[in-house]
Symmetry: C3
Subunit: 140 residues, 3 copies
């Protein structure tokens, strides 16, 4: 028998940062007693993204944010889509350069992530946002 | 019982643009009466990619194309792989910067995409191409 | 009945290069007689990545490496995370720009990749490393 479960995680963001939610996924696995399977995570927006990054030194996150800001500048004369704010088009581009979706493996009730890997919502907008990430488990 | 279905979508492209195919996936779900499961989409090429982007303002697509063209210029003296045309190596790089594969969740016969999310083939070559995207459903 | 198998592939790397492992996946499918399903590949590190790229002209790989090195330079004054070496922060950024995870489709005991597509570990560190990629099959 195939087992499937869904969960909607809402994260309220306050500006361009990485918001970790590794524990939300690990706890969901424990609570539901998932054995082995795939968890498909999908963010339902195109101006924020999902990434797996180092969870040890927080400087890595600062450098990532600064790098992406330099790579995809605001107020760039290249953009014609400017009606939603100077940070909106850069946010769509950063989303395209990273991921909207990640599939994770679960084995014997454990999430298979490396020791130094964490799951993050990467917010690209500067104002407050409410973000929805869908968790979908398929396995046994 | 696990249910699996496959479908090959061919998209004929005419230059660097985003080609939406959200309806192709939604209709496939309806026609096959898929309940809940995962759809794995994989493009069988490395000079075009798959992305989820905003489907509201078409200017977003124009800006994306222009941004990527500036980020990964043609005629760059950096490239040694030039035999397949000045747009080929940039196309491979743009493909590496975006995605070859996306997994989507289906719940109760509905594709779980955000309101403003659309599925696109992102063509990076300038001449006419025929592109193959494999749809693979696994669920119940 | 749902079938699941796991395999840990270790790749010893020696510097910034693409290391192909397509055969490792194809052979694993044959040996285990997998019919149809999804293989989720996940690299358990954040300073190396997984990519699908052209397997025909090796110049493509050289150009990719050179392009990414130029896009994400070492010794950039932008970085504050410098304790693990000048190549570490660029490695994390390159990882964010590419993929930690790829899901592949298997149909009738065959891996569904395009003719010119190969699977690669993209190493971003300059010193020797030992990298772990988890293979996870779910199907029938």
């Amino acid at each position: 028998m195939i087992k499937q479960e869904f969960f909607n995680l809402e994260i309220k963001t306050k500006g361009q940062k990485l918001y970790e939610f590794t524990d939300k996924v690990s706890n969901w696995i424990k609570e539901n007693n998932f054995k082995s399977g795939i968890i498909n995570l999908s963010i339902q927006h195109t101006s924020a993204s999902l990434i797996i990054q180092e969870n040890a030194d927080p400087d890595v996150q600062t450098d990532l944010i600064n790098y992406f800001d330099k790579l995809v500048p605001m107020n760039n004369k290249l953009y014609i889509h400017t009606t939603e704010g100077k940070d909106d088009m850069p946010a769509h581009i950063k989303s395209a350069l990273t991921n909207n979706q990640i599939s994770l493996s679960v084995k014997n009730n454990e999430l298979l992530l490396g020791t130094w890997q964490g799951l993050y919502l990467f917010e690209h907008r500067i104002e407050k946002q409410s973000r929805l990430i869908v968790f979908h488990y398929l396995g046994d």
